[in-house]
């Protein structure tokens, strides 16, 4: 008589999250086995929670774009430009947050609208267009900023700083904000009709149009999301470092993209997961901080990213059988 192995029937919508979590736990276990003293101490987690929210916020917005069948590679330069807008406006309004933040957000929205105009209205490739925009916006910021480093030490003891990037116990507040945003966007993505329309954009836009879904407007909102998220990250960055410098957006591009794909959102569009992206961002943040903390040379970080992306694909294939393309 043949013995049968019962299969675990996991609902399809949770498979990507479980795949990403599985991979994250293995990675955490390996780090802990290598350096138990570091990874069983809360300090390392506080350090990771400083950078993780930035990846999370950018990744959350980018998931919408990728699932809608587009990509926005200009977000690092939008961080740079909206950060400059925020810093410049602070300087020129006596550090008035209530003027500077809306100005920065407005520039983020305008960048998103410009990308949407080029991609959605004119039909240009989002990959190439936003890559070009990434260079253009960084260049524009450098022209405007003229290489200046703008410091804001006077912001250090303000209430706004405490609220935005202070800490609640050992947890940095930006981590809490990022989690709140993740819950809201998760609900929008998985439960709101806008989230469904985003998935339709990347799955079968013609079907969406036939059923009365405004594909162009939906994609435009996705690009605007990225602009707004970039501005939020820029504002947090200025408060976190009390400084603005025009390389503030550097270093986000590959880790954030890696976080999305490790999280189980395929490049082909039509499906994705906010929960998976959060775990993907945690994986990336742990690699960045954990590699060095566990005593390895910093040069291992990129190797770790690459390995994580490739291995996570195997994990997703195991759980969902989809992410091979």
């Amino acid at each position: 008589m043949k013995a049968t192995t019962p299969k675990i029937l996991l609902p399809e919508r949770y498979r990507a999250v479980v795949g990403a979590s599985f991979f994250f736990c293995i990675m955490l276990l390996l780090f802990t086995l290598r350096s138990p003293g570091v990874f069983l101490d809360i300090g390392i987690y506080s350090a990771i929670f400083l950078s993780l929210p930035l990846f999370m916020i950018l990744g959350l917005s980018l998931v919408f774009c990728v699932v809608a069948g587009e990509i926005d590679l200009s977000f690092p330069s939008i961080v740079t430009l909206t950060g400059f807008t925020f810093a410049w406006t602070l300087e020129n309004t006596g550090n008035n947050f209530l003027i500077a933040a809306p100005c920065s957000l407005l520039v983020g929205v305008l960048c998103g609208l410009l990308n949407a105009f080029l991609v959605v209205k004119l039909g240009l490739s989002s990959l190439i267009t936003t890559l070009g925009m990434n260079f253009a916006l960084v260049g524009l910021t450098q022209i405007l900023n003229q290489g200046q480093i703008r410091t804001f030490e006077e912001l250090n003891d303000t209430i706004i700083r405490t609220v935005l990037v202070g800490s609640t116990g050992p947890v940095p507040n930006q981590m809490l904000w990022a989690l709140v945003l993740a819950v809201i966007l998760g609900l929008v993505f998985h439960r709101h009709k806008f989230g469904l329309h985003v998935r339709i954009c990347g799955d079968n836009p013609e079907a969406g149009r036939a059923m009365g879904v405004n594909i162009e407007a939906t994609k435009t909102i996705c690009f605007v999301f990225v602009g707004v998220a970039s501005s939020i990250v820029a504002i947090q960055g200025v408060y976190l470092n009390s400084t603005y410098f025009s390389t503030v957006g550097d270093g986000f591009l590959l880790p954030v993209l890696a976080a999305i794909f490790i999280g189980g959102t395929p490049v082909t569009g039509g499906r994705g997961t906010i929960g998976g992206m959060v775990i993907g961002a945690a994986t990336v943040a742990f690699i960045q901080t954990g590699v060095v903390a566990s005593g390895l040379d910093g040069f291992w970080t990129s190797f770790g990213f690459g390995l994580a992306v490739v291995l996570s694909l195997f994990g997703h294939r195991k759980f969902s059988g989809r992410l091979t393309r």
Binding site: D203, A207, G208, M211, G212
Partner: protein, 253 residues
């Protein structure tokens, strides 16, 4: 007293570059009537379907009237909100989404903040699937469409078209991917739509199917109406002979 048309098309043309897909189409569709729209490949059937369903706009100069009222800025959202449902030839399904997402696409049941009432959508999809005899034990409303066979996908597309209280149902080649028994079910279903007072436009390459259900025939030839007559004017042999004649004419051209 003459009946009022549900949908009237007046001087409808559609060009793609220099090519006329449709030229000066004048048609009226009435409640409780099945119109079989037939013609060879490239005759303009699918273009006409798209215009009726609002996914294509006609060229300037054409008019669409709904119960005598001329409409402007014709769109798929407007067509659906008025009560025109379409089963497209390509089925217009989003394959990676669930069955219930597809059924309610564009008309989601939401609260006032736009959040979808999944429970109600799933229950209604389940009831609908039972109603049309779609009783697979394998697939549930939560299954994604890419797991379904061609006939099952067609079932979802048809279910979507009848869920809402439509006044007109346009079916573009609904039986193309179906087995004989499934085709018979769909033809019965089309007759049921007529009995419930809906206007039905049935597009098919199969002349026997088209003849079996029709009250009226519209034969398109190279974007123009070649024949528009009631079923009583033609026997099935006449009808098939006519289709052959137009097909040969097209081949010679």
């Amino acid at each position: 007293m003459s009946r009022e048309a549900l949908v009237s098309l007046v001087n409808i043309s559609k060009t793609y570059g220099r090519v006329y897909a449709l030229e000066d189409i004048n048609l009226e569709f009435f409640a409780g009537e099945i119109v079989s729209l037939v013609g060879d490949n490239g005759a303009g059937k699918s273009t006409l379907t798209k215009i009726i369903s609002g996914t294509e706009k006609p060229d300037d100069g054409g008019e669409i009237s709904l119960q005598g009222e001329k409409v402007s800025k014709w769109s798929s959202a407007k067509a659906r909100s008025w009560g025109i449902e379409t089963v497209f030839q390509n089925r217009a399904l989003s394959e990676q989404q669930t069955i219930y997402d597809n059924v309610f696409l564009g008309r989601e049941i939401t609260n006032r903040f736009g959040f979808v009432n999944r429970k109600q959508e799933i229950e209604e999809t389940e009831a609908l699937m039972r109603k049309i005899g779609y009783t697979s034990k394998v697939w549930t409303p939560l299954s994604s469409v890419d797991k379904l066979s061609g006939g099952e996908r067609q079932g979802v597309a048809i279910a979507r078209a009848i869920l809402f209280d439509s006044r007109m149902v346009v079916l573009d080649e609904p039986t193309s991917a179906m087995a004989l028994s499934e085709t018979a079910e769909v033809l019965e279903f089309i007759k049921g739509l007529k009995e419930s007072g809906k206007s039905v436009v049935f597009i098919s390459h199969n002349p026997w199917d088209a003849y079996a259900v029709a009250d009226r025939f519209v034969i398109l030839e190279r974007g123009k109406i070649a024949i528009d007559c009631p079923k009583g004017d033609l026997t099935v042999d006449d009808f098939i002979a006519l289709l052959h004649r137009f097909a040969k004419k097209d081949a010679k051209k």
